[in-house]
């Protein structure tokens, strides 16, 4: 029975109604009653608009629920109404035959609505609290939440604004936001388990990761970045202390497939972990005597104690991974002959670049890796009371320098050819080194090593000046002829860069720099069964990059072994959450200063290889975790997934776009509430007991946040309540000359309800005119006066806070003697004005939807043709033309339904 449109397509619905507040619901139900097929779209998770959030409604004092829930139920069950919540209209265009082409999309809720039972378990366990927009920010709600108790449909949604910057920035996408929120909630075991999903070497990372997450933390734009690594350190120390052994063994479902991994550094260990979790038989070959790669041999113990590396490796070996140490692999074909189905090369980049100057071979001139290796395996170089010069300015120069200090060197110098600003090492590393007594010798480079009896005694250095920028954009240092000077030194450590450790592999596998060549997406080499990842592919980088590569390699090796195609994306990561919106919302948050990182003082540090960073206490870690701003809302802590019985949570869900043809359109997108902080002198946002009218309604609602009328600052029952009318309405100073039309009445309602809830309270309404104009309204106003509610004619100019916490209202009393007066109240309600929701204008793409002088949708002929806009077939219902009360909205929506029906009859658009 569908009628084809001009292009031969069928009409999907007779009418689409956009916005399911009172107006949209009323219009949809009316048109459904008339027999038209209606699509009702709302961007929120529930229908009901703003009215469902009210306490009671004037002048009858019916519960808002009693009024709105029947309408909500009627659109949800109406045989002719199709409800689409959590969906947004993107574009509306008019077809030549008078019907409309509509583009819309169902937002990703990360919950399968068909399966969700609305049980609320996810909400109970969710670790992220965000200001509850349904309570106008008075309290918080969870990121996984059901909008409110009467929601229709009663389905949970998980609010994700994107990927949190920390998680997004992490090369391994470790869910920093997730484990931080779990630590905040005191769920350390869960935090550890969550970390394992992206990186198994939790303890090592907690100490030695350069934490790119922290450099992209939104809190960094305010009081300073959240010390995410310190939170992790607390979490993993706690977990390892309670669990010296992993809580799991090999997975149940073991496969026959065998994988050889060459190298037991972070990349190899990570790949082994994820492969073994998938059931593959994994063997790691390690040339050194102990596993761990650079974790073991390069990073000094004062940054990464080796027992932590051991415990991290247990995470891998507990899955059944075999590590054959002291076994250098020199032939890949040999591995295949041994029956391995796939090989992963993760040999790293620990070969040293050489400095080709005179005296390089003198005793006492060593490579940085060699130096650190010796330190780490206990072959401590003798530097006691000697002078050690470290050459280089990267992080790898800091480690030998600081290690030398700890071994009792008399003088440690870092010699770098550019300036301090240009040093590639982290600033905190340089500062740490300096604190411990390391000297910086900047704008200088060694020209030759001077020996005596084959042993180094001095270094001849030459001063440098920064010249023109090189191809990397950095200014190239140029020697200053004649500036040579000789610096006595017993040991020189060359920290001038590392090369890939790939000498055992054939040239055809490598590029000109000696790096193994692998597909950057799949990490597969030219031999389809050989993969390579980590520093030997990428050149030297951070541990977390190697970990990320290991997990990626495991993913594609698994697919290769299972015969699945490799042209699939690896990780579903959302776009990074923009910080601007988060910072804007955070303006009203309390300031949270960073918790200081506990550490040994420099004097103590000099004497010991003991880890100088100390773990935070539980209280400190949780306090620091509190500083997380939940940028992405959902932190992906995955707790909801663990409790959802119908298994309806799906983090891979994507928005679903839809294209539809409809016969007519009714927009009922409503209004916006003016930000009460716009009236700065009234103190909203500065004084907690100055609240907005909508907030007061929540305090009075049956589903009220505190289950009592309490003032927010201290939970006291207010005794002297002021309600100020016309805040930002009839007010040219905020460019809103209109009367808000409902403020007087909702204020009187609130006054009456507050009087019922707090019989002892004095209630004063500060007003210009009391506009009680509807049916029964004036009587309601008179009743309020009879109840003892005081009406003061006068505008409140400003509000100040008194020493006792109460608020002083400065106002002009316009009656009687008049004059400027001050009165004390303990709760102030600002009856705020409203603004048009101008989003509606961008929806219509077929030209311009006309606005009135105030930014509301314009009715072409408000007297004879209510609800009709300048676009034939596109109608407007309710407050989209200007704020009005519920009865007027219902009537206007009836008119919109009639107009749309008449249009459908005229245009023959009805199915």
């Amino acid at each position: 029975m569908l009628k084809p449109d001009a292009d031969g397509r069928l009409l999907d619905y007779d009418v689409m109604v956009v916005g399911a507040g009172v107006a949209g619901m009323e219009t949809a139900a009316s048109m459904g009653d008339m027999g038209y097929r209606v699509l009702l779209v709302d961007k929120n998770a529930s229908v009901g608009g703003r009215a469902i959030l009210l306490s009671k409604v004037f002048p009858t004092l019916d519960c808002a629920s009693c009024i709105v829930t029947p309408k909500m139920a009627s659109v949800s069950h109406h045989p002719n109404v199709q409800l689409m919540t959590y969906s947004e209209v993107d574009a509306i265009a008019r077809n030549s035959d008078g019907s409309f082409a509509v583009e819309l999309h169902k937002k990703a809720s990360f919950v399968d609505f068909d399966a969700c039972t609305g049980c609320g378990k996810c909400e109970e366990i969710c670790t992220v609290a965000i200001p509850d927009e349904y309570n106008y920010g008075l309290v918080t709600r969870r990121a996984a939440h059901i909008a409110f108790p009467q929601a229709v449909p009663k389905k949970a949604v998980i609010q994700r604004r994107g990927e949190a910057p920390c998680t997004f920035t992490c090369p391994a996408n470790v869910k920093a936001s997730g484990y931080v929120s779990l630590v905040r909630a005191g769920r350390y075991k869960e935090a550890f388990a969550l970390h394992l999903e992206n990186a198994p070497l939790v303890g090592s990372l907690a100490r030695a990761c350069y934490a790119p997450c922290e450099s992209d933390c939104t809190r960094g734009e305010k009081e300073g970045t959240v010390h995410i690594r310190a939170i992790k350190r607390f979490m993993v120390d706690r977990y390892y202390a309670e669990h010296p052994e992993p809580e799991y063994g090999p997975v149940e479902n073991q496969l026959e497939t065998r994988v050889a991994i060459v190298g037991s550094g972070p990349a190899g260990l990570s790949a082994a972990f994820y492969l073994a979790r998938l059931g593959h038989q994994v063997t790691i070959f390690e040339a050194e005597r102990e596993a761990g790669g650079m974790l073991r041999t390069a990073i000094p113990a004062y940054r990464l104690p080796k027992d932590v590396v051991d415990r991290d490796i247990k995470n891998v070996t507990a899955l059944g991974v075999e590590i054959r140490t002291g076994h250098r692999v020199t032939s890949l074909p040999e591995l295949k002959r041994q029956g391995f189905d796939a090989v992963l090369i993760t040999t790293g980049a620990s070969d040293e670049n050489s400095l080709d100057i005179e005296g390089r071979d003198l005793d006492g001139v060593v490579g940085c890796m060699q130096f650190l290796h010796d330190v780490n395996v206990g072959k401590l170089p003798d530097v006691k009371n000697k002078t050690v010069m470290v050459i280089g300015g990267g992080n790898s120069a800091m480690d030998p320098a600081r290690a030398a200090i700890r071994m009792g060197a008399g003088r440690v110098i870092i010699n770098y050819r550019r300036g301090r600003q240009e040093m590639p090492a982290h600033d905190w590393e340089i500062r740490g080194a300096e604190e411990e007594g390391v000297e910086l010798m900047l704008m200088s480079t060694p020209k030759r090593f001077i020996g005596k009896d084959g042993k180094l005694v001095a270094v001849e250095c030459i001063s440098m000046v920064l010249g023109a920028p090189d191809e990397s954009g950095r200014r190239r240092p140029v020697p200053i002829e004649g500036s040579e000077k000789t610096v006595p030194a017993d040991v020189a450590v060359l920290a001038i860069g590392l090369a890939p450790s790939t000498t055992d592999f054939p040239a055809e596998m490598k590029n000109g720099k000696g790096l193994l060549v692998a597909n950057p997406q799949t990490l597969q080499t030219a031999d389809p069964d050989v993969f390579a990842c980590g520093d030997c592919v990428t050149a030297p980088t951070m541990i977390i990059n190697a970990v990320a590569q290991g997990r990626r390699a495991a993913f594609y090796i698994d697919r290769r072994l299972k015969g699945e195609p490799l042209d699939v994306p690896f990780d579903g990561v959302l776009d990074k959450t923009g910080k601007a919106a988060v910072l804007e919302e955070a303006k009203r948050f309390v300031e949270r200063r960073p918790v200081p990182q506990p550490a040994l003082p420099p004097d103590e540090r000099r004497k010991t290889f003991e880890c100088y960073e100390k773990a935070m206490s539980e209280a400190e870690a949780r306090q620091e975790a509190q500083r997380c701003m939940n940028c992405a809302e959902c932190s992906q802590c995955m707790e909801c997934v663990s409790v959802c019985a119908p298994k309806c949570i799906d983090f891979a869900q994507k928005p679903t776009p839809l294209s539809l043809n409809v016969g007519a359109v009714v927009v009922s997108t409503g209004f916006k509430i003016l930000d009460p902080a716009t009236k700065e002198l009234l103190g909203y946002g500065r004084f907690p007991d100055v609240i907005s009218g909508p907030q007061m309604d929540r305090l009075l609602a049956p589903t009220r946040p505190y289950n009592a009328v309490l003032r927010p600052s201290d939970g006291k029952e207010p005794e002297r309540i002021a309600i100020i009318l016309c805040v930002g309405s009839r007010d040219e100073t905020v460019c809103n000359p209109l009367c808000c039309r409902i403020g007087c009445m909702y204020a009187i309602k609130q006054a009456q309800l507050a009087m019922g809830a707090l019989p002892m309270a004095e209630i004063t309404i500060y007003m210009i005119d009391v506009r009680a104009f509807g049916k029964g309204y004036n009587e309601f106003y008179e009743q309020a006066k009879d109840m003892g509610i005081e009406f003061v004619k006068g505008k409140v100019a400003r509000i100040e806070q008194l020493a006792n916490g109460n608020l002083a209202l400065h106002y002009e009393d316009m009656l009687g003697e008049g004059g400027r007066k001050i009165r004390e109240h303990d709760l102030v309600v600002l009856t705020v004005g409203f603004l048009p929701n101008t989003d509606v204008f961008s929806l219509y793409k077929g030209g311009e939807l006309a606005a009135d002088d105030f930014g509301y949708v314009r009715e072409v002929d408000p007297i004879s043709e209510p609800a009709r806009t300048n676009v034939d077939g596109l109608f407007v219902a309710g407050t989209t033309i200007g704020v009005m009360d519920i009865p007027d909205t219902v009537l206007h929506s009836g008119a919109a339904a009639t107009q749309a029906a008449a249009y459908l009859e005229r245009s023959g658009g009805r199915q």
């Binding site: 009316s30 009653d33 008339m34 027999g35 409604v57 009858t60 019916d62 519960c63 629920s65 009693c66 829930t69 029947p70 909500m72 139920a73 069950h77 609305g118 108790p149 009467q150 229709v152 009663k154 049956p702 589903t703 009839r730 000359p737 209109l738 009367c739 808000c740 039309r741 005119d769 009391v770 506009r771 009680a772 104009f773 049916k775 029964g776 004036n778 008179e782 004619k793 316009m814 009656l815 009687g816 105030f854 408000p862 007297i863 004879s864 209510p866 009865p887 007027d888 219902v890 009537l891 206007h892 929506s893 009836g894 008119a895 339904a897 009639t898 107009q899 029906a901 008449a902 009859e905």
Partner: protein
């Protein structure tokens, strides 16, 4: 006790409205153990969709055959829960609504134990009634695709056009000689500067051109019978000829009456004291500078709230307590028209607006702002000391205490004093007897619910539109008339309507046709028929409203109302007298 029935009892918190005063959990616990009750529970909001879904699931799972919901007034949610029962596969008439809010929690605040005890008893009564229910089927009747619109003002005419556009046949009747109502008598209207007669002329042209609309002037509705979907109405044309029409629904748009001041009220009766409408006629009719009785007008006083927002006094025993809504805007707008007039003729006319609150709500605020910009002076008076209008030296003197000037008494000399008279309910006399639409306290026609069903009335099939329901400006009036069209359209486009089966039933074995019930029935729903060889009464179900006047009057006790049968009422009384035993 044996369970004959499997009844589900659901007690609603009403988000605290009930549970703050009645221990709803205790009510549910107590009922859970009683005869015929299969399950008893509480819900935070029984009306919410989620709660409804839970109840539906339980009705199905536990095969319930009766349903008692103890919540708010049945006026609010009877239909909600009937629809829910239907969705659950339960006959909607096996659901009983107990009003635990209006009849218990709201009236017994402060004594929770006693309120709970009473709550238990009235829910018990509901269960007792429910146990005696049996499935009923609504009476489905065809609807007539024709509508009668009463009143050919702007609201009525606009409704007629919209109904016709929906494909319905429309008869519009107008009591007066000319259609157009009040709008045809005002000139320019704020805030959009439309001209009343032009608006009327445009609509009238459409009405006349539309083949589906027939307009009768000098026409009055004198009789109505039948029921929703199928009314028979009698129209008296020009006071002599009767016309009978068959319509499916009626839209009443009979408008308002302007307030008529009492003699002496604000100087009413003195020369120069005029209503706003008269003032506008003076302003717009002449083609020269404004004069009154030949005297040039230099000073005009406007007095607001005449006949509105009244309080009871000796002079005013039946006050109009309502606000008339349109007059502030209309008067302020008139101030701007007066300003245009003075500019046009190069004369200065001072204007003084004596108000209480300026209620130019929403965008109408712009009208107020413009009037002030145009030179209108606004003085605020208090009803305890209203302005006095006197005649002095051939002019008028208005004494007013301006509350914004420290109650300083001002005397304003005026050539004209304009009374902004409000809207009062129209005295429709005989029409009210025919339509029987209930009125609200302010005397205007009463809607079923201002927010839920604002254009429907207690008389099914009869909608109200425009100012017959309460004061409105023209745009609001038209919006309400189109809302009435939406309801009417929904009713008639479907082609049928289901009538309540809660109607009278006559036991023919007992009936002896004494004629008493016929006399008692206000709906003409009783007929005499032959039953075998005896004459008995029978009920025309489509006409019966189930209101029960016939029941007590029957000497043979032969009549019951379905849903309110004697056995049910007795059972309810017994149940509610049962001693309360806490669970």
């Amino acid at each position: 006790m044996t369970n004959k029935r499997r009844i589900g009892v659901y007690v609603c918190h009403c988000g605290g409205n009930i549970s703050d005063h009645v221990d709803v959990k205790d009510v549910a616990r107590t009922l859970a153990g009683e005869a015929d009750v299969e399950v008893a529970r509480t819900h935070l909001f029984a009306c919410s969709d989620a709660s409804q879904q839970e109840m539906i699931d339980e009705i199905k799972d536990r095969k319930l055959d009766g349903l008692v919901i103890a919540s708010c007034s049945p006026k609010l949610h009877t239909f909600t829960f009937r629809a829910m029962a239907q969705r659950a596969g339960l006959n909607p008439y096996q659901y009983v609504h107990v009003n635990l809010r209006e009849q218990c929690s709201w009236v017994h605040g402060g004594d929770k134990a006693a309120a709970t005890a009473k709550g238990i008893n009235i829910v018990r009564a509901g269960v007792a009634k429910c146990a005696l229910t049996h499935p009923l089927t609504p009476l489905r009747i065809e609807t007539q695709p024709r509508v009668l619109v009463v009143g050919a003002g702007v609201a009525g005419m606009r409704a007629a056009i919209a109904l016709a556009e929906m494909g319905l046949s429309v008869f519009v009747i107008e009591r007066e000689n000319e259609p157009g109502g009040w709008t045809s008598q005002v000139g320019w209207m704020g805030p959009d500067h439309q001209h009343g007669p032009e608006v009327v002329a445009k609509l009238l042209k459409e009405v006349k051109n539309h083949e589906n609309v027939v307009l009768y002037t000098n026409a009055e509705l004198t009789a109505k019978s039948g029921h929703i979907g199928d009314f028979t109405v009698t129209i008296r044309l020009c006071g002599e000829k009767d016309l009978t029409l068959n319509v499916g629904a009626i839209v009443v748009a009979t408008g308002f009456t302007p307030y008529e001041p009492r003699d002496g009220e604000y100087g009413w009766g003195l020369p120069g004291v005029v209503t706003l409408k008269e003032f506008r006629q003076l302003l717009e009719e002449g083609d020269g500078p404004l004069t009154y009785r030949g005297v040039p007008v230099r000073d005009v006083g406007f007095i607001y709230c005449v006949g509105s927002r009244q309080t009871e006094s000796e002079d005013c025993p039946e006050p109009n307590t309502h606000c008339s809504r349109f007059c502030c805007m209309a008067t302020a707008f008139s101030g701007s028209l007066l300003h245009e007039h003075e500019k046009k003729f190069g004369r200065t006319i001072n204007q003084y607006h004596l108000y209480r609150d300026v209620r130019t709500y929403g965008r109408l605020e712009t009208v107020y702002a413009k009037a002030r910009a145009d030179g209108a002076l606004f003085l605020r008076w208090d009803p305890s000391d209203p302005p006095r209008v006197e005649q002095r030296n051939g002019r008028l003197a208005v004494k007013v205490k301006d509350t914004l000037l420290g109650d300083e008494e001002l005397e304003i000399g005026a050539d004209l004093v304009v009374l902004a008279t409000g809207m009062v309910p129209r005295k429709n006399g005989a029409l009210d007897d025919v339509l029987k639409i209930p009125k609200s306290k302010d005397g205007f026609y009463n809607e079923i619910h201002i927010k839920l069903r604002p254009v429907e009335t207690a008389i099914d099939g009869v909608c109200i539109a425009g100012t017959s329901q309460g004061p409105k400006n023209l745009a609001e009036s038209v919006a309400s008339s189109l809302a009435a069209v939406a309801r009417t359209g929904a009713l008639l486009k479907k082609g049928y309507v289901d009538l309540e089966p809660l109607v009278a039933k006559i036991d023919t074995s007992k009936c002896v046709w004494c004629n008493e019930c016929l006399k008692a029935c206000p709906y003409g729903a009783i007929e005499r028929v032959l039953y075998g060889d005896k004459e008995v009464a029978t009920v025309i179900e489509s006409s019966c409203k189930g209101e029960g006047a016939c029941v007590p009057i029957c000497p043979q006790d032969a009549i019951v109302i379905e849903g309110y049968r004697d056995d049910q009422i007795v059972a309810m009384i017994d149940a509610s007298l049962k001693e309360t035993v806490p669970a």
